[in-house]
Protein backbone atom coordinates (compact mmCIF):
# COMPACT_ATOMS: atom_id res chain seq x y z
CA UNK A 1 0.00 0.00 0.00
CA UNK A 2 1.56 3.28 -1.09
CA UNK A 3 1.83 6.10 1.48
CA UNK A 4 -0.16 9.25 0.92
CA UNK A 5 1.82 12.45 0.41
CA UNK A 6 3.47 13.69 3.61
CA UNK A 7 1.12 16.67 3.65
CA UNK A 8 -1.68 14.35 4.78
CA UNK A 9 0.31 11.35 6.10
CA UNK A 10 2.32 13.62 8.42
CA UNK A 11 -0.73 15.01 10.25
CA UNK A 12 -2.28 11.51 10.30
CA UNK A 13 0.80 10.00 11.98
CA UNK A 14 1.05 12.94 14.38
CA UNK A 15 -2.67 12.92 15.26
CA UNK A 16 -2.63 9.15 15.80
CA UNK A 17 0.56 9.35 17.89
CA UNK A 18 -0.58 12.24 20.13
CA UNK A 19 -4.16 11.00 20.59
CA UNK A 20 -2.95 7.48 21.35
CA UNK A 21 -0.40 8.93 23.79
CA UNK A 22 -3.19 10.52 25.81
CA UNK A 23 -5.30 7.33 25.83
CA UNK A 24 -2.40 5.02 26.66
CA UNK A 25 -1.27 7.26 29.54
CA UNK A 26 -4.81 7.03 31.01
CA UNK A 27 -4.83 3.25 30.66
CA UNK A 28 -1.33 3.02 32.12
CA UNK A 29 -2.42 4.94 35.25
CA UNK A 30 -5.04 2.29 36.03
CA UNK A 31 -2.72 -0.62 35.15
CA UNK A 32 -0.08 0.89 37.46
CA UNK A 33 -2.67 1.24 40.26
CA UNK A 34 -3.54 -2.46 39.86
CA UNK A 35 0.14 -3.44 39.79
CA UNK A 36 0.85 -1.37 42.90
CA UNK A 37 -1.97 -2.99 44.85
CA UNK A 38 -1.97 -6.58 43.64
CA UNK A 39 1.29 -7.02 41.74
CA UNK A 40 2.14 -7.11 38.01
CA UNK A 41 0.60 -10.54 37.32
CA UNK A 42 -3.09 -9.49 37.46
CA UNK A 43 -2.15 -6.17 35.79
CA UNK A 44 -0.45 -7.94 32.84
CA UNK A 45 -3.17 -10.61 32.60
CA UNK A 46 -5.91 -7.97 32.47
CA UNK A 47 -3.94 -5.97 29.90
CA UNK A 48 -3.21 -9.03 27.75
CA UNK A 49 -6.87 -10.08 27.78
CA UNK A 50 -7.95 -6.59 26.72
CA UNK A 51 -5.33 -6.52 23.92
CA UNK A 52 -6.64 -9.89 22.69
CA UNK A 53 -10.20 -8.51 22.55
CA UNK A 54 -8.93 -5.41 20.75
CA UNK A 55 -7.00 -7.52 18.21
CA UNK A 56 -10.16 -9.55 17.56
CA UNK A 57 -12.14 -6.32 17.10
CA UNK A 58 -9.62 -5.04 14.55
CA UNK A 59 -9.58 -8.41 12.76
CA UNK A 60 -13.40 -8.41 12.47
CA UNK A 61 -13.81 -4.70 11.70
CA UNK A 62 -11.04 -4.38 9.12
CA UNK A 63 -12.58 -6.53 6.36
CA UNK A 64 -16.03 -4.97 7.02
CA UNK A 65 -14.67 -1.46 6.46
CA UNK A 66 -13.14 -2.51 3.14
CA UNK A 67 -16.64 -3.25 1.83
CA UNK A 68 -18.00 0.23 2.56
CA UNK A 69 -17.79 2.66 -0.41
CA UNK A 70 -15.03 5.19 0.26
CA UNK A 71 -17.25 8.33 0.15
CA UNK A 72 -19.76 6.85 2.58
CA UNK A 73 -16.92 5.76 4.87
CA UNK A 74 -15.31 9.21 4.73
CA UNK A 75 -18.65 10.88 5.51
CA UNK A 76 -19.45 8.67 8.51
CA UNK A 77 -15.93 8.82 9.90
CA UNK A 78 -15.71 12.54 9.17
CA UNK A 79 -18.87 13.16 11.22
CA UNK A 80 -17.58 10.98 14.06
CA UNK A 81 -14.27 12.87 13.97
CA UNK A 82 -16.11 16.20 14.12
CA UNK A 83 -18.06 15.09 17.20
CA UNK A 84 -15.02 13.56 18.90
CA UNK A 85 -12.46 16.21 17.91
CA UNK A 86 -14.66 19.23 18.61
CA UNK A 87 -15.62 17.69 21.96
CA UNK A 88 -11.95 17.34 22.94
CA UNK A 89 -11.22 20.87 21.66
CA UNK A 90 -14.09 22.35 23.69
CA UNK A 91 -12.84 20.66 26.88
CA UNK A 92 -9.22 21.63 26.18
CA UNK A 93 -10.31 25.26 25.73
CA UNK A 94 -12.22 25.17 29.02
CA UNK A 95 -9.22 23.63 30.85
CA UNK A 96 -6.83 26.17 29.33
CA UNK A 97 -9.21 28.94 30.43
CA UNK A 98 -9.30 27.55 33.98
CA UNK A 99 -13.06 26.95 33.79
CA UNK A 100 -12.66 23.21 34.44
CA UNK A 101 -9.73 21.65 36.31
CA UNK A 102 -6.79 20.07 34.51
CA UNK A 103 -6.61 16.29 34.27
CA UNK A 104 -4.47 15.12 37.20
CA UNK A 105 -2.97 11.64 36.71
CA UNK A 106 -1.67 11.55 40.31
CA UNK A 107 -5.18 12.21 41.65
CA UNK A 108 -6.67 9.64 39.27
CA UNK A 109 -4.05 7.09 40.36
CA UNK A 110 -4.96 7.73 44.01
CA UNK A 111 -8.70 7.45 43.37
CA UNK A 112 -8.34 4.31 41.22
CA UNK A 113 -6.18 2.72 43.93
CA UNK A 114 -8.76 3.60 46.60
CA UNK A 115 -11.61 2.35 44.38
CA UNK A 116 -9.92 -0.99 43.70
CA UNK A 117 -9.07 -1.36 47.39
CA UNK A 118 -12.68 -0.87 48.47
CA UNK A 119 -13.95 -3.30 45.80
CA UNK A 120 -11.66 -6.15 46.76
CA UNK A 121 -12.76 -8.43 49.55
CA UNK A 122 -12.72 -12.15 50.10
CA UNK A 123 -9.95 -14.50 49.00
CA UNK A 124 -6.57 -13.63 47.51
CA UNK A 125 -7.56 -14.97 44.08
CA UNK A 126 -10.85 -13.01 44.00
CA UNK A 127 -8.93 -9.82 44.83
CA UNK A 128 -6.50 -10.52 41.99
CA UNK A 129 -9.45 -11.22 39.69
CA UNK A 130 -11.16 -7.91 40.54
CA UNK A 131 -7.91 -5.99 40.17
CA UNK A 132 -7.18 -7.69 36.83
CA UNK A 133 -10.71 -6.82 35.69
CA UNK A 134 -10.02 -3.13 36.44
CA UNK A 135 -6.89 -3.30 34.24
CA UNK A 136 -8.85 -5.16 31.54
CA UNK A 137 -11.63 -2.53 31.51
CA UNK A 138 -9.22 0.43 31.39
CA UNK A 139 -7.07 -1.02 28.57
CA UNK A 140 -10.17 -2.12 26.62
CA UNK A 141 -11.88 1.28 26.85
CA UNK A 142 -8.80 3.34 26.02
CA UNK A 143 -7.82 0.80 23.35
CA UNK A 144 -11.19 1.15 21.62
CA UNK A 145 -10.62 4.89 21.46
CA UNK A 146 -7.17 4.31 19.95
CA UNK A 147 -8.67 1.96 17.33
CA UNK A 148 -11.31 4.54 16.44
CA UNK A 149 -8.66 7.26 16.11
CA UNK A 150 -6.42 5.08 13.92
CA UNK A 151 -9.32 4.05 11.68
CA UNK A 152 -10.61 7.64 11.55
CA UNK A 153 -7.36 9.37 10.65
CA UNK A 154 -6.40 6.46 8.41
CA UNK A 155 -9.71 6.44 6.49
CA UNK A 156 -8.10 7.01 3.15
CA UNK A 157 -6.05 4.68 0.94
CA UNK A 158 -2.45 4.73 2.14
CA UNK A 159 -3.06 6.32 5.55
CA UNK A 160 -3.96 3.35 7.72
CA UNK A 161 -0.38 2.12 8.00
CA UNK A 162 1.10 5.53 8.97
CA UNK A 163 -1.72 6.06 11.50
CA UNK A 164 -1.15 2.58 12.98
CA UNK A 165 2.57 3.27 13.22
CA UNK A 166 1.84 6.51 15.08
CA UNK A 167 -0.42 4.72 17.56
CA UNK A 168 2.03 1.87 18.06
CA UNK A 169 4.88 4.33 18.65
CA UNK A 170 2.78 6.02 21.36
CA UNK A 171 2.05 2.68 23.06
CA UNK A 172 5.72 1.71 23.07
CA UNK A 173 6.81 5.16 24.29
CA UNK A 174 4.40 5.13 27.25
CA UNK A 175 5.24 1.52 28.12
CA UNK A 176 8.99 2.18 28.09
CA UNK A 177 8.75 5.41 30.08
CA UNK A 178 6.24 3.88 32.48
CA UNK A 179 8.38 0.80 33.16
CA UNK A 180 11.41 3.00 33.82
CA UNK A 181 9.65 5.68 35.89
CA UNK A 182 7.20 3.31 37.64
CA UNK A 183 4.85 6.16 38.57
CA UNK A 184 1.76 7.80 37.07
CA UNK A 185 2.88 9.87 34.08
CA UNK A 186 1.58 13.07 35.60
CA UNK A 187 4.16 15.30 33.95
CA UNK A 188 2.79 14.56 30.48
CA UNK A 189 1.26 17.88 29.39
CA UNK A 190 -2.11 16.25 28.86
CA UNK A 191 -4.18 19.34 28.13
CA UNK A 192 -1.63 20.61 25.61
CA UNK A 193 -1.76 17.23 23.88
CA UNK A 194 -5.57 17.14 23.96
CA UNK A 195 -5.66 20.69 22.58
CA UNK A 196 -3.42 19.68 19.68
CA UNK A 197 -5.30 16.44 19.07
CA UNK A 198 -8.68 18.24 19.24
CA UNK A 199 -7.40 20.71 16.63
CA UNK A 200 -6.15 17.97 14.29
CA UNK A 201 -9.16 15.69 14.63
CA UNK A 202 -11.55 18.62 14.08
CA UNK A 203 -9.56 19.57 10.96
CA UNK A 204 -9.66 15.97 9.70
CA UNK A 205 -13.39 15.88 10.51
CA UNK A 206 -14.13 18.94 8.36
CA UNK A 207 -11.84 17.64 5.59
CA UNK A 208 -13.38 14.20 5.38
CA UNK A 209 -16.97 15.20 5.96
CA UNK A 210 -16.53 17.63 3.10
CA UNK A 211 -14.92 14.99 0.85
CA UNK A 212 -17.71 12.59 1.76
CA UNK A 213 -20.24 15.20 0.57
CA UNK A 214 -18.36 15.73 -2.68
CA UNK A 215 -16.35 18.84 -1.78
CA UNK A 216 -13.12 19.05 -3.72
CA UNK A 217 -11.02 21.05 -1.27
CA UNK A 218 -8.67 23.45 -3.06
CA UNK A 219 -5.05 22.56 -2.40
CA UNK A 220 -6.05 19.21 -0.79
CA UNK A 221 -3.33 18.78 1.87
CA UNK A 222 -2.94 22.55 2.25
CA UNK A 223 -6.66 22.86 3.06
CA UNK A 224 -6.21 20.36 5.89
CA UNK A 225 -3.35 22.40 7.34
CA UNK A 226 -5.40 25.60 6.94
CA UNK A 227 -8.31 24.06 8.88
CA UNK A 228 -5.93 22.99 11.63
CA UNK A 229 -4.41 26.49 11.82
CA UNK A 230 -7.89 28.03 12.03
CA UNK A 231 -9.06 25.67 14.78
CA UNK A 232 -5.83 26.28 16.69
CA UNK A 233 -6.18 30.07 16.46
CA UNK A 234 -9.85 29.83 17.45
CA UNK A 235 -9.02 27.64 20.44
CA UNK A 236 -6.19 29.84 21.71
CA UNK A 237 -8.11 33.11 21.34
CA UNK A 238 -11.28 31.66 22.88
CA UNK A 239 -9.32 30.23 25.83
CA UNK A 240 -7.60 33.58 26.43
CA UNK A 241 -10.89 35.53 26.32
CA UNK A 242 -12.75 33.02 28.51
CA UNK A 243 -9.90 32.98 31.06
CA UNK A 244 -10.37 36.71 31.62
CA UNK A 245 -14.17 36.50 31.56
CA UNK A 246 -14.31 33.62 34.03
CA UNK A 247 -11.76 35.19 36.38
CA UNK A 248 -13.84 38.40 36.37
CA UNK A 249 -17.04 36.45 37.03
CA UNK A 250 -15.40 34.71 40.00
CA UNK A 251 -14.02 37.92 41.50
CA UNK A 252 -17.37 39.72 41.00
CA UNK A 253 -19.07 36.84 42.78
CA UNK A 254 -16.55 36.95 45.64
CA UNK A 255 -17.03 40.71 46.07
CA UNK A 256 -20.85 40.39 46.08
CA UNK A 257 -20.68 37.55 48.57
CA UNK A 258 -18.43 39.38 51.03
CA UNK A 259 -20.54 42.56 50.70
CA UNK A 260 -23.64 40.59 51.72
CA UNK A 261 -21.84 38.91 54.62
CA UNK A 262 -20.61 42.23 56.02
CA UNK A 263 -24.13 43.73 56.14
Amino acid sequence: MAFESWGVAGPAVTAAFLASLVEVVEAFTVVLAVATLRGWRPAWLGTAAALAVLALTVALLGPLLDRVPIHALQLVIGIMLLLFGMGWLRKAILRAAGVIPLHDEDAIFASETASIQTEVSGTQSSRDWIAGLAAFKAVLLEGLEVIFIVIAVGARPGLLVPASIGALAACIAVLLIGVIVHRPLSRVPENTLKFGVGVMLSAFGVFWTGEGLGVDWPGQDVALLAFAAAFLATGLVTAAVLRRTYARALSDGARTGSALVSR
Binding site: M80, F148, L213, V215, P218, G253
Partner: protein, 78 residues
Protein backbone atom coordinates in the same frame (compact mmCIF):
# COMPACT_ATOMS: atom_id res chain seq x y z
CA UNK B 1 -22.47 -7.26 31.65
CA UNK B 2 -21.22 -4.28 33.64
CA UNK B 3 -18.10 -4.20 31.45
CA UNK B 4 -20.30 -4.13 28.34
CA UNK B 5 -22.33 -1.26 29.82
CA UNK B 6 -19.11 0.60 30.70
CA UNK B 7 -17.79 0.11 27.15
CA UNK B 8 -21.02 1.34 25.54
CA UNK B 9 -21.24 4.31 27.93
CA UNK B 10 -17.60 5.23 27.23
CA UNK B 11 -18.06 4.96 23.46
CA UNK B 12 -21.18 7.14 23.63
CA UNK B 13 -19.43 9.73 25.80
CA UNK B 14 -16.67 9.97 23.16
CA UNK B 15 -19.15 11.44 20.70
CA UNK B 16 -21.85 13.02 22.88
CA UNK B 17 -19.95 14.90 25.56
CA UNK B 18 -22.12 18.03 25.13
CA UNK B 19 -25.61 17.26 23.84
CA UNK B 20 -26.23 20.71 22.34
CA UNK B 21 -22.86 20.73 20.59
CA UNK B 22 -23.56 17.25 19.20
CA UNK B 23 -27.02 18.21 17.93
CA UNK B 24 -25.72 21.46 16.42
CA UNK B 25 -22.92 19.61 14.60
CA UNK B 26 -25.28 16.97 13.21
CA UNK B 27 -27.76 19.65 12.09
CA UNK B 28 -24.95 21.59 10.42
CA UNK B 29 -23.79 18.51 8.48
CA UNK B 30 -27.39 17.72 7.51
CA UNK B 31 -27.93 21.29 6.30
CA UNK B 32 -24.71 21.26 4.27
CA UNK B 33 -25.63 17.86 2.80
CA UNK B 34 -29.06 19.19 1.81
CA UNK B 35 -27.45 22.27 0.27
CA UNK B 36 -24.98 20.27 -1.82
CA UNK B 37 -26.92 17.14 -2.65
CA UNK B 38 -30.55 18.29 -2.79
CA UNK B 39 -30.24 21.94 -3.83
CA UNK B 40 -27.21 21.27 -6.05
CA UNK B 41 -25.31 24.25 -4.62
CA UNK B 42 -21.59 24.67 -5.29
CA UNK B 43 -19.89 22.03 -3.08
CA UNK B 44 -17.19 24.52 -2.16
CA UNK B 45 -19.84 26.86 -0.72
CA UNK B 46 -21.17 23.95 1.32
CA UNK B 47 -17.64 23.15 2.47
CA UNK B 48 -17.06 26.75 3.57
CA UNK B 49 -20.34 26.75 5.53
CA UNK B 50 -19.37 23.44 7.15
CA UNK B 51 -15.95 24.75 8.20
CA UNK B 52 -17.17 28.12 9.50
CA UNK B 53 -20.16 26.49 11.18
CA UNK B 54 -17.86 24.14 13.11
CA UNK B 55 -15.74 27.07 14.32
CA UNK B 56 -18.88 28.86 15.54
CA UNK B 57 -20.18 25.72 17.29
CA UNK B 58 -16.92 25.20 19.21
CA UNK B 59 -16.83 28.84 20.34
CA UNK B 60 -20.52 28.79 21.35
CA UNK B 61 -20.15 25.56 23.34
CA UNK B 62 -17.12 26.87 25.26
CA UNK B 63 -18.74 30.27 25.96
CA UNK B 64 -22.02 28.64 27.07
CA UNK B 65 -20.22 26.31 29.51
CA UNK B 66 -18.14 29.18 30.90
CA UNK B 67 -21.28 31.27 31.52
CA UNK B 68 -23.04 28.32 33.15
CA UNK B 69 -20.14 27.67 35.52
CA UNK B 70 -19.71 31.37 36.19
CA UNK B 71 -23.41 31.68 37.16
CA UNK B 72 -23.23 28.54 39.32
CA UNK B 73 -20.12 29.81 41.09
CA UNK B 74 -21.73 33.23 41.59
CA UNK B 75 -24.87 31.62 43.00
CA UNK B 76 -22.88 29.50 45.48
CA UNK B 77 -21.14 32.57 46.86
CA UNK B 78 -24.50 34.25 47.51
Amino acid sequence: MSILKAVVAELLSMFVADARQTVATLLLVAAVAALILALQADPLLGGAILFLGCIVIVIEAAVRETRRRGRRSHGMRL
